[in-house]
Symmetry: D2
C-alpha cells in the first residue's frame, strides 16, 4: 500500500508502567504491521527530570510537563493517555475538542459521570472525523480474538454460561503497606475497577450481548494496613463476586480478587454453549482451549490451540508458527488497530461508549454489593 | 488386631448405579483394609427377578423385595440405603429404630423436614450405640482428605476464598428427553441437589466453618423437553450460582450445572488462604495442587501432588506409590470408616446432622434464587 | 446370554502385590462384565500361615502351599501365575501340560530360553483348546486401547515416531538399601525387564509392527548399596535408553528408569504420524491426548479426551460418563478378556509368543548396550 | 551509572526472519535495560530495494548491500550476523579482524572446520579487547536461566538424566515442497543442525559438563519431495535421536524432528538429579517445573513456577509480576548481555569456542548415525 510520507505524530501522557508499555508499542508497530507511519513526538509527565530520562530511554523525540501544550502541538495527531484514571476525562476531552485522535488506557474513568462526559465528547468528535479508542488491551490477545470469532461464528451454538475471573495475589500479606490504590477517593474502587473492568469488557466483547442485571458481593479481607502515619483503613474492595444476566439469556459470573495466593495475573475465561466451549488463562496467553461437542462419540475433548499460526489474528505481522508472543505485544496490536481506524476513518473499538457501558455495569455491581446482593439493572439513564 | 469371628451382616436397599457401586465396596473392603469382617446378606429391590439377578452378579447371598423384612433379619447389622432420595427418611428411620446401623447415600433427603426427622432419629439411636452415616463419598477422595488436613493444620493460613464448581454436561442438548430428574416433585431440585449438595458439603468439610448467609441465582436454560406424551415443562434448575459467607470470614462460591459442554464430571475446588492455596478436579482425582506462599522468592508456584503415597489417606490399604485409584474406590474408603466407627462405637462423619446442615444451605440457596438474589441466612430453626 | 451354571475354578499362585491385585479382579469381574462365572478356589503361597491369612482376606475358598496339587485339582480350570519371574516357566508349563488355562504376569520369563519353552508349551496346549495369556495389563487401559484403535483405523496416518518412557523414582536415594531386584541372578535385569518390558510390549501393541533392530545404552548410577552385610554391588541397570527401528519404517524410543525424581509411575507414550498424534501418561490414566492434523487451519491442537464414555473400551461395564477408573481396574479388564477367550475358545492376546517377542527385543537391547550401542536385530532363531 | 554519550553503532547483516527479530531487540534494548546506548546504523542485504524497505520498516538509519563496507564504517562498532550459516565464517572473521565486536546467529557455522576458524579468530580478537558472542537465544529464556542457576546451586543434587527434545511439525506433509533447507550442500544437515544445535547447547549450558561420547540414529521419512523441476531427493535428516554420555556421569538424550505432528515449536527439557528435577517447554516459555525431593513426605510434587517475578533473570527490566514475555524478548536479553560484556570488556557467553564444541558434538552425532549407532567421542583434535 502506498502511503503519504508524513507520519502521524504521537504524544503519550504518563510514563510509568502503562506509559512504558505503550512506548514500546509505538516503537514497534511500524516494524510489525503495515500501518500509517508514526513519529514519537513527545512524552509528557509531571517532573521534568524524570520524564526527560524516560523520553530518552523509550525513544521519544522530546519530553514535556505541559500536557495541554503537548496536545496542541501541530505535529501531534494522536494523544495516548496513560495517566491515573482520575485525569482521563479532562485530558481526553481537551484533546478531542482540539481535533486530536485519542487513545485512553482502561478504565475509561473513575466515575460514570466522567465516562458519560467522555463518551459524549467522543461522539461529537467522531462527527468531525476524530477517532477515539479505549485501551482494553485484552481485546488484542490473539487467543481471545479467536475466541470471540468462534463465538460470533456460532461455533459454540447458543452461549449459556460464562465465567470470567481475574485473580491476582499481591495483597495476600496482611502486613503489606497502605497505598493510594487502597483508598476509595483516589482509586475509585479496588479489584472491581482495576481487574473487574477487564472482565466486564470481555463479557461484552466475547458475547456481543448486554448486561441486563447483576447481583454481587464484595469483601475487604484486610481492613487496616500500615500507612506512613500508623494503620490506615482500607476503603476499597479486596475482592468481588458477581452474577450477571445477559440480554441473550446467558449467565456470566465475574470475579476479581487481589487475594488469590499463587495466581499472579490469572485472567481466566470459560464459555459454555450448546455446541461447544472455550477456556483461556492470561498466564498462558498463547493458548486457547476449544471443545466441540459435535466431535464423534468417544473423541470429544478440549483441544489446546497454540495461537501462533499465520491464520490467527495479528500473527501475520510477527514470527513463524510456534514462536509465542508476550503480554506487551497486545499493545502493538491495539495501536495497529487505532492507526488503521484513523487511516480508514472508521470507528475504533472499544469506543468510549463501550467503556461507559462497562462503567455502568461496575457501578451496578457496587450498588448490588452495598444492597444485600439485590439483583439490579445497570442504570440506563444518561448521567448529565 | 484380633477380632471375633462373627461378621457384620449387611443389607443394601437399591441396586441401580449406587447399589452397584456400594456392592463393589462391600465386596472389597475386607481385602483392602483392616476392619471388622462383613457378610453380604441381602440386596433389596422392587422387582424380584431383576434384584435376584443383581444379587447374584454383585455377590450377595440373597435378594429380597421386602425392605422391612430384610432390615429385621437377625443376621443383618448394617443397612445401606441406595434408593432415590424420597425414600431415605422412611427406611433410615425404620432401621435406626430397630437398632441397625445405617449408611445413607447423599443427599440425606429431598426436604429439610425429612432431613430433620432423620437427624433426630440418628441422634436418638446414637444414644443406644447405633451408628449412622451419610454417604458424601467425596470426603473419601484421598486428595480431598489431604486438602482438608492441610487446611486444618493451618498450611493455608487464614482461609479467605473458596470456589467449588460441579460441572457436568449431560443436558446440553436441548433435544434430550424429559426424565424424572427434571421434575421438581420427584427430584426436589436439579443441579442444586444432585451436584450442589456435594459442593456445600465440601465447604463444610474443607473449612470446618458454617455458612452464615447465601445469595444465589438459578436458571433453567431449556424450559421444555420432549416427553412420552409431547413436550413437558422442566421444573428444576439446570444450573445455580451462589456466593456464601462463612462464619470464619471466608467467602465461598458454589456453582453447579448440567450444561457445561465438555465437562463430564468436573468437581473443581480452589481454596485461597493467607499462606497458601489448593486446587482439585475430580476428573483427575489422584492429584492435588498445593501452593505455599512461604516458598523462597522466585520459587513459588503450585505443586502437583500425586496422592498415591503410603503417607496419604487410605493409601496404605492399596498399591505401591504411583498406582492411581478410581472413583469407585472412594466407597471402599467410606465403608471402611463406617466399619471402624461401628467397631469403636464412635460417631461416624458426615452424620445425619451434618447432612441436615447441607439441606438447610441448599434450601437457603433456593430461597435466595427465588427472591431476587437477596442474601439470606440458612434457617436455623429446627423443623418439627 | 445364558450360561451353564458351573463356574470356572481359579487358582492364583503368589499372593504379594500382584496376587492381591489379581484377587481383586477375580472378585469383581462377574459383577462388572458379562463373562462366564468364576469360583475363587485356591490361593497358593510358600508359607502356610501367611497364605491362609491372605486367602481369607482376599476372598478365596482355600489356601495351599502346594502349587502342583492346586493346579491338579479337578475344580480348578484356570491357573493365574503371580510369582517372581524365575518361576513362571516351570509352573506355566506344568499347568498347560495338565490342560489348565493359564494367565502369567509379565514379564513372561527372565530369559529368552524360558520364554521360548513357554511359547512352545502354549502352542501345543492351544491345539487342545487350552488358552494361555500374558498379563501386560496396560493393554487393558481404556485410553491405550482407544489409542491402538485410532492407530489401526489410520487416524494418525503413516506412523513415524513413537516415544515410550517408563519413569519411576524409587531408587533416587543412593542410600536406599540393596534388594533382590538389584541382583542380576534373581531379577534378570533392572529397569529394563521390569519397566522396559511394558514399553516394548506397547510398541508392538500400538503399532502392530515388529522391531527390526535396536541400539541401546544402559547405566547403573549407584553402583553399590548398603546390604545386610555391608555394601553390595548393584548388578542390574538403573536406566536404559534405546532407539528401535520398526519394520513399518517408524522409529521408536524406549526408555526406562528408576531414577526420575518426581515421576512416581509415569509411563508416557507419544506417537506421531502423518495425519495425527497421540499422547498418554499412566499417572493420568483416564486421559488421552489426540491431535488431528486435518483440523481447519487455526484450530489445530491436541485434544484431551476423558476416556470414560460408554463408547470407550471396557467402559460399558462400569459407571456413567466421567467417573474415572483406577490402575487396578485394568486387571478386571484383563480377566474379562481371558474368560471370553476361554468361553469362545479363541486365542487370547498377548500370547506367550508375543511375550517371547518382547523378551527377544529386551535381549537385543541388553546386547547392544553391552556392545558400544551397535545396532542389532533381535535374534530370530528359536532358542532350543 | 554514568556513561559516555556516544552510542555504540550497530550493523546487522541479513534481514529476513532473524534480521527482523534482532532489529526488534536492538530497537528495544535501551528502553528495557540499563546498558550502553546503541545506534542502529545500517541494515545489510543482497537486494538494494528490499533491504532499504526493511531498514525503514525496522528503524535503521541506512541500508546497504555491501557487508564489507558496512562493517568498515567508522561509526559501526558491533556487527550482528543473521545470514544463512554458510556465510557466518567469512563475515565474522572479517569483522573480528577489523576490530568489530561480533554477534553471530546460531549455529556458529555449517562445518567444524569453519567453526574452528571462527573460534580461533575470536580468540585472537579477544586479546585485543574485541568481544564475540554466539546467539543461542534460548540461553536467555528466563525460565532456562533459572533452571541453570538451580542446577548450579546444587538444588537438583547430582544430575543424572537429561532429556532434550526439539520437536516441530512443518515437514509432516509428504507433499510439502523441496527447499534449500532440505539439501545437504546448502543446509549442512536437517533437524540436527537447525534444532539439535539448540539442544546440544542446552546440554552444555544446563549441566556445565562436556559430552564424552554419543550414539545416534537419524532418519529421513520422506525421501523425495516435489521441486521446481519434478521430484528431488531430500539429502538431510528429518529427525535424529541420540544418547550422550557426559563427563560428569550423567546421560542426556537429544532428539530433534520436523515430523512431530502437533508440536509447533516444542523445545522440551527434563532434568533429573538425586535431589530434584526440572521440566520446561518452549511453547510455555514463562513456566518452569521444579520438583524438590526433599519436600515432606506426602507433599512432594512438581511445582509450576511462573517466571515473571522481579527476582527472576532479566525480569527487572520488564513489567510487574505476572505479565508474560514472548519468544522475541529473548533477543533483547541476548543483546543486553552482549552490550554489558562490551562495556565491561569481559568474555561474552556462549563464545565461539562454545559454539565450536556444539559443532563437534553435532558432527559426532552424524558420524555415529552413519556408522551403525556406534558410540563415539566428539573429535577433540583441532581441525586445521
Amino acid at each position: 500500500m502506498s502511503r503519504t510520507s508524513s507520519a502521524l505524530g504521537v504524544a503519550v501522557i504518563g510514563h510509568s508502567f502503562m506509559g512504558k508499555a505503550h512506548s514500546q508499542a509505538w516503537r514497534n508497530v511500524n516494524a510489525t504491521f503495515d500501518t500509517p507511519k508514526v513519529a514519537m513526538r513527545v512524552l509528557v509527565g509531571r517532573d521534568a527530570g524524570t520524564v526527560e530520562a524516560s523520553a530518552r530511554r523509550y525513544g521519544w523525540e522530546a519530553s514535556s510537563i505541559d500536557w495541554r501544550a503537548s496536545i496542541l502541538r501541530e505535529d501531534v495527531d494522536i494523544v495516548d493517555i496513560c495517566t491515573p484514571g482520575a485525569l482521563h476525562a479532562e485530558i481526553a476531552i481537551f484533546a478531542l475538542e482540539h481535533g486530536k485522535h485519542v487513545l485512553v488506557e482502561k478504565p475509561l474513568a473513575n466515575t460514570v459521570a466522567q465516562a458519560q462526559a467522555m463518551a459524549e465528547a467522543a461522539s461529537a468528535a467522531a462527527d468531525a472525523g476524530v477517532v477515539s479508542m479505549l485501551g482494553f488491551n485484552y481485546r488484542r490477545v490473539p487467543a481471545l480474538v479467536l475466541a470471540r470469532d468462534l463465538v460470533a461464528a456460532g461455533r459454540l451454538g447458543e452461549l449459556r454460561q460464562l465465567n470470567i475471573r481475574y485473580y491476582q495475589d499481591w495483597l495476600v500479606d496482611a502486613g503489606s503497606p497502605m497505598s493510594w490504590r487502597l483508598r476509595r477517593e483516589e482509586a475509585g474502587s479496588g479489584a472491581l475497577g482495576d481487574l473487574g473492568s477487564h472482565a466486564v469488557d470481555q463479557v461484552h466483547y466475547l458475547t456481543g450481548a448486554k448486561v441486563s442485571s447483576v447481583s454481587a458481593t464484595s469483601k475487604t479481607f484486610v481492613s487496616r494496613r500500615p500507612g506512613a502515619a500508623g494503620d490506615e483503613e482500607v476503603t476499597v474492595d479486596d475482592a468481588i463476586w458477581s452474577t450477571l444476566e445477559l440480554d441473550n439469556g446467558a449467565v456470566a459470573t465475574v470475579e476479581a480478587t487481589r487475594m488469590a495466593t499463587g495466581r499472579k495475573n490469572s485472567f481466566r475465561i470459560e464459555a459454555y454453549g450448546s455446541r461447544g466451549s472455550l477456556a483461556f488463562d492470561l498466564e498462558s496467553l498463547n493458548h486457547l482451549q476449544l471443545c466441540d461437542s459435535g466431535a464423534p462419540a468417544g473423541e470429544q475433548g478440549s483441544k489446546t490451540i497454540l495461537v501462533t499460526e499465520p491464520e490467527h489474528p495479528y500473527l501475520d505481522g510477527w514470527w513463524p508458527t510456534g514462536h509465542v508472543l508476550g503480554w506487551a505485544d497486545t499493545f502493538t496490536h491495539e495501536i495497529r488497530d487505532l492507526l488503521l481506524a484513523i487511516e480508514g476513518n472508521t470507528q475504533a473499538s472499544p469506543s468510549f461508549a463501550e467503556g461507559l457501558e462497562v462503567q455502568r455495569v461496575l457501578s451496578a455491581i457496587e450498588h448490588s454489593a452495598a444492597n444485600n446482593c439485590a439483583r439490579v439493572a445497570p442504570d440506563p439513564v444518561p448521567v448529565t
